[in-house]
Amino acid sequence: MSASVTFARTIPAVRSKPASGVVRLILIGAALLYIGFFLVLPLAAVFVQAFEKGAQAYLAAVSDKETLSAIRLTLLACAIAVPLNLLFGLAASWAITKFNFRGKNLLVTLVDLPLAVSPVVSGLIYVLVFGLHGWFGKWLDDHDVRIIFAVPGIVLATMFVTFPFIARELIPFMQSQGKEEEEAAAVLGASGWKIFFKITLPNIKWSLLYGVILASSRAVGEFGAVSVVSGHIRGQTNTLPLHVEILYNEYNFTAAFAAASLLTLLAVITLIAKKIVEWKTEKQIAASEAQEYV
């Protein structure tokens, strides 16, 4: 299921056709209005409400013990899930783009599978496997190992939802680069690892970074899946998004929005980082295309 949305990273064609000036202005105005009202306003709302009771209250909320613990858990889940999915992404795209084998298309489809699964179901599947009444429930209980309602469960759920992101970035990019450089290196006597580190990796670094940014952003912000597998135990099994939910449901709005503001800030940084990497890859593609005709 490689349903894909290509992000607009193509080199923009010459545009701005001279449509009637009025129509143009109306359309631009309408678009800006929609974006401002619908996207920017909620963004602003987060920060305004976070600072409603002043900077002091904000800092207190952000440095609260439970909030810090939630931050730590969020970062931990991200720090485990993303690198593992990175390894998977590299392995899968290497196999898919440098070789031909039966079932290659099926593999590409399977990589996209987690995208088709709703967050709540993503958590449910791990409960069915590791939960008390799940496949391994009895065994885990006997050995006093807790996965569901504990940190490992959260990490697993995070791994599931961020599974496709890096592979999906690498596969089309490596496909377009072909395997000639790797073949040239092979004929020159380089071993597999040397080829990978010296030839392939430098060529894919921006795509790789983009995938890591997307995956990390999703890992930090995941809510539904983590909600199912977490025990919602404050200070122990709450990620930052879950912590926001708890605070909000207790009507502790300022604290909730303060925590939310951290996540929002991260989202904004993610958007900026994405733009920078897009710009860099555009430059890379343009440079190699321009030289093609020499």
């Binding site: 299921m1 490689s2 349903a3 894909s4 949305v5 992000f7 607009a8 193509t10 545009r15 009637s20 359309l27 631009i28 678009a31 929609y34 974006i35 996207l39 306003l41 987060v46 593992l84 998977f88 392995a91 899968a92 196999a95 440098k98 070789f99 084998f101 039966r102 593999l107 599978l113 088709a116 699964v117 709703s118 709540v120 179901v121 449910l124 791990y126 069915l128 939960g131 496949w135 697993l156 599931f160 395997k179 071993s191 597999g192 080829i195 952003s217 912000g221 539904g224 199912v228 998004p241 879950l242 926001v244 939910e245 709005f253 939310a260 996540l263 929002t264 989202a267 958007l271 733009k275």
Partner: protein, 280 residues
């Protein structure tokens, strides 16, 4: 070296290791856990499964989720096309910023979006307090659900139509104009048909996302059974009551629906690719 994958090019090393690792990881993290859902529901027996998946409360949640997702997809079809159009064809100050902001719903954690939207549209919220005197209630009503789902699905449509609009052959429009078509006619007869497949794809993706959406919806919905309870929430409720069978049955229904939907999207995209190849 005989292999079930058939003969493969031996020019570059590392096939066995990379494929082996990839398949193992895929199976452990994705395939085996996913299969648990189907095994569990198989063990329930068909009758029990059907009962669990079609209680009135569950059916109400299907109607609500489906309907709200459809409505949101419809809104996004228009809004997404508008914004995609403006970004692809016009220049204006701050365009790069606007282009980046479009991805906000992708980057923003759903819970944050949920509480932000709720705070705006409740009775005493920034927008809510304008609407309330007129008797318009958004928060804790289906309308709020549609609102939240529109928020999360927005970038799908924009990012689907934007590249197509950018790559549109200017020659086609110029030909239409030279033949006497007004801008509107050109849009309706030349441009819109070209962008329609991409638009449908984007809408379908937004729809698929909306069906499973949880975090951004549960704050603004009322979460009242039979009225404002989405299917995802129902699954969690069942889990909290230790009704694993019930939760699984509903999950299977959701999975089958999204698989079918994505299959349709794939076929649509394949059709698009064929259509584009024939153009020359």
């Amino acid at each position: 070296m005989p292999s079930i994958f058939g003969k493969r090019s031996s020019s570059v090393p590392g096939f066995g290791l990379s494929l082996g690792f990839a398949l193992t990881y895929l199976s452990l993290i994705v395939l085996i856990p996913l299969s648990a859902v189907f095994f569990k529901s198989a063990s329930m027996g068909w009758a029990h499964f059907w009962d669990a998946a079609t209680t009135p409360r569950v059916l109400a949640s299907y109607r609500l989720t489906f309907g709200a997702s459809l409505a949101a997809a419809g809104i996004n079809a228009v809004a997404g096309l508008l914004v995609g159009w403006v970004l692809a064809r016009y220049d204006f100050p701050g365009k790069r910023v606007v282009d980046a902001v479009v991805d906000l719903p992708f980057a923003l954690p759903t819970a944050v979006a949920g509480i932000a939207l709720t705070s705006l549209y409740v009775g005493n919220g920034w927008i809510g307090h304008f609407l309330q005197p007129h008797g318009i209630e958004v928060a804790f009503k289906p309308a709020g659900i549609v609102l939240a789902l529109s928020f999360v699905g927005f970038p799908f449509v924009v990012r689907s139509v934007q590249p197509v609009l950018e790559d549109l052959d200017k020659g086609l429009e110029e030909a239409a104009a030279s033949l006497g078509a007004t801008p509107w006619q050109t849009f309706r007869r030349v441009i819109f048909p070209s962008v329609l497949p991409a638009l449908l794809t984007g809408v379908a993706l937004a729809f698929a996302r909306a069906l499973g959406e949880y975090g951004s919806v549960i704050f603004i919905a009322g979460n009242m059974p039979m009225r404002t309870e989405i299917t995802s929430l129902l699954i969690i409720s069942k889990l909290e009551q230790y009704d694993y069978a019930g939760a699984t049955a509903i999950a299977v229904v959701m999975l089958v629906m999204s698989f079918l939907l994505l299959l349709g999207i794939n076929l649509l995209q394949a059709r698009i690719r064929k259509y584009q190849e024939v153009e020359f």
